[in-house]
């Protein structure tokens, strides 16, 4: 049927480090050797932390935990691009983002151990507590970006969510509003190909998640989410664009969840070992090691040092976590309102006496 083409759109793909650790020098972001090592060290630390969380959960010391494994480059790479003055809204799987941003890791354990104090984000750290309700943090982040713009503060907001979250109305309503006002926000979609057991093909009929940005009139880009430099670069550019008032960006980080959805899940029920193996070969840490090695700033003994330092640090985190006093039952009522209304004050009395 001969019709006139009204509009054309394209979605791009970005990769800086390939699966073998080869770097596209044209695209390499300007990071010093020290910074590169720092990035590496964070990925190792988070992986160590993640393993410990799993063990603690199996020992009954944590409740459900949602592992980061596989998302290290996505989370650490993007969080590295953020300024402390930027704001972050993220979800349950974003332990590494919170860690890099400065949340004491013991608080993450504390939170997953069923203690709300773990999300009492330290003053000065501009991070909203982890959202459990999938996708609902997106409109909040957009509202914060609006507030920043209104107040003429040259910061950006980053909001993290999964592939599953893109199906929720909140995703749509949030991105749409951001598009209307060209807000300073970066939408970071961690596409790990599953929402619990539901594979991407049952999540959406679109070939990429990045192309969903077209619906809102701004750019979407797909980046290799296992490539820390690609993620860093894409995020950095999107943040700068945002801070300059040039509007939002959707970044789809193409990655994979190596572990179970949470400690309550058994991924072998719904995906094959072969599929996992394919992604094992794309491991974000390994390729980063190869790259650092090629630059002469990684070798086995450095690696060992990094790993044992991470072990020590996590051991220390566990000690901190274990020395935390139990929460005060009254806190459960205390934080309902700024000032307790009479009813609640009476309920507080009942609680004390029960």
């Amino acid at each position: 049927m001969p019709k006139k083409t009204l509009k054309s759109f394209a979605v791009e793909w970005l990769q800086v480090l390939d699966e073998q650790g080869n770097c596209d020098e044209m695209l390499r972001p300007a990071l010093s050797d020290a910074q590169l090592q720092k990035l590496y060290e964070w990925m190792i630390l988070i992986r160590t932390f993640d393993e410990k969380a799993f063990n603690l959960q199996r020992q009954g010391r944590l409740g459900t935990y949602a592992p980061v494994h596989g998302h290290e480059a996505t989370q650490v790479g993007s969080a590295f691009a953020l300024q402390p003055s930027d704001w972050v809204f993220a979800s349950y799987r974003d332990g590494a983002v919170y860690g890099v941003r400065g949340l004491p890791l013991a608080m993450i354990f504390q939170y997953w151990a069923g203690d709300e104090r773990g999300m009492q984000i330290p003053k000065g750290e501009n991070d909203f507590p982890m959202t459990i309700q999938v996708g609902t943090q997106i409109p909040l982040a957009v509202g914060a970006a609006y507030a920043a713009k209104l107040r003429k503060e040259a910061i950006a907001v980053a909001v993290y969510f999964g592939d599953g979250a893109t199906s929720k109305g909140d995703f749509h309503e949030g991105l749409n509003f951001a598009g209307v006002h060209r807000l300073p926000i970066v939408f970071i979609c961690e596409n790990n190909h599953y929402a619990i057991s539901v594979p991407l093909k049952y999540q959406t009929g679109s070939d990429t998640l990045a192309q969903k940005a077209i619906a809102y009139g701004f750019t979407g880009i797909q980046v290799d989410g296992n490539d820390a430099l690609g993620v860093y670069r894409a995020t950095l550019e999107a943040l700068e664009k945002a801070r300059k008032g040039e509007g939002p960006t959707l970044i789809e980080c193409f990655t994979y969840r190596m572990g179970d959805h949470t400690t309550a899940d058994d991924a072998s029920r719904y995906r094959s070992a072969e599929e996992v193996q394919i992604w094992q070969k794309k491991d974000p840490v390994e390729r980063f090691e190869k790259y650092l090695e090629s630059k002469g700033i990684w070798n086995k003994s450095y690696e060992e040092k990094v790993r044992s330092k991470a072990q020590e640090e996590v051991a220390q985190v566990v000690r901190e976590f274990e020395s935390l006093p139990p929460p005060d039952p009254e806190d459960m009522i205390r934080y309902t309102f700024d000032t307790l209304p009479p009813d609640l004050a009476k309920q507080m009395e009942n609680l004390k006496s029960s």
């Binding site: 609902t136 409109p139 957009v142 209104l150 109305g169 309503e173 509003f177 934080y335 309902t336 009813d343």
Partner: protein
């Protein structure tokens, strides 16, 4: 002192709070250029600009979600939801964020948000434009629910709601918007959240109501008075926190009570009020507390609406019932 209707007094409160506090922003459908479908925000965009009086896309969940985000960042948003029936789309944002940000972050963040919305029947509106589901929000922890019944009340309560550091749902009885006028001071004043007011004193029976139903209740009380029955009429004003004390003291005096609301009977706020009377004044009761309410069905379209809404007659009948028990 000007004589204002409810629309004008709310407009005045919004204007004054926006002048006073640059953090106050308004967000909603058609609130800007159009001044709101009920004209409540008339002139405010002209005065404060498009950045502070925002015509939002058509998404109630978004409106509430964005507002929460703004509030976390330090603004004081007043969101308008065009009709209470459209608030249902925002329930997840209200229940999973607005009402629990303070708890979840153990005080690091809080949510000084006001959601304004017209509610209730009697304006012959289309489907879902006459809802009155205040009971949902009273049951939801972490959010206050305020209902003005007159222009004077509205201004003072809204200013308090805006200054409250926690989320407040502010329900505006649409039937009252233009139906009554009264003196409203130009200068700012606040009315306390969580305190009911006694509108009419009496010894024979306590009538409890709020919003547009207060006017119907008052008419019934006046009619009863002509027959020598002295009703005490309470305007709850705040539905959560509920002013149990005022209600219970009145019932202890009158020994009889009738509660009037437009929402369906089952699970309506009337039940909670009865439960509190039961808890604190059972032995004083000389008759079961009566509820005059909507039926347990959706409020119908205009042709049947008057059969649904509590009427003076039904209230009188209930008063007779509690007195002749």
């Amino acid at each position: 002192m000007a004589i204002l209707n409810l629309v004008q007094s709310i407009n005045l409160a919004l204007r004054q709070e926006m002048e006073r506090d640059p953090r106050v922003v308004l967000l909603g459908e058609d609130i800007g250029k159009n001044g709101g479908v009920f004209r409540v925000t008339e002139g405010l965009q002209q005065k404060f600009g498009e950045a502070r009086v925002i015509d939002s896309p058509l998404s109630e969940s978004g409106i509430v979600g964005f507002s929460i985000g703004m509030s976390v960042y330090g603004l004081v948003p007043v969101a308008e939801i065009q009709f209470m029936g459209f608030l249902y789309g925002a329930m997840e944002q209200i229940l999973s964020h607005a009402s629990r940000i303070r708890m979840r972050s153990r005080g690091r963040f809080h949510c000084p948000l006001v959601i304004r919305t017209p509610y209730g029947g009697g304006i012959h509106a289309p489907e879902l434009h006459s809802e009155s589901t205040e009971a949902f929000f009273v049951h939801a922890p972490g959010i206050k629910v305020v209902v003005p019944s007159t222009p004077y009340q509205a201004k003072g309560l809204l200013i308090s709601a805006i200054r409250d550091p926690d989320p407040v749902l502010f329900l505006e009885p649409s039937r009252v918007y233009r139906s009554i006028k009264e003196e409203v001071p130009e200068e700012e004043y606040t009315l306390p959240l969580g305190e009911a007011r006694i509108v009419m004193e009496g010894e024979d029976v306590t009538l409890v109501s709020w919003g547009a139903m207060l006017l119907t209740t008052l008419n019934a009380a006046k009619q009863a008075q002509e027959k020598g029955v002295h009703a005490e009429v309470i305007d709850l004003r705040t539905l959560y926190p509920l002013d149990t004390k005022t209600v219970v003291e009145s019932v202890k005096k009158t020994k009889r009570a009738v509660i009037v609301h437009e929402a369906p009977k089952t699970g309506g706020l009337g039940a909670e009020i009865i439960a509190r009377i039961n808890e604190e004044a059972l032995l004083h009761l000389e008759a079961p507390v009566e509820r005059v309410t909507g039926y347990d069905t959706a409020i119908p379209l205009s042709q049947l609406e008057s059969y649904y809404l509590p009427s003076v007659n039904r209230i009188i009948h209930a008063i007779e019932k509690v007195r002749s028990f």
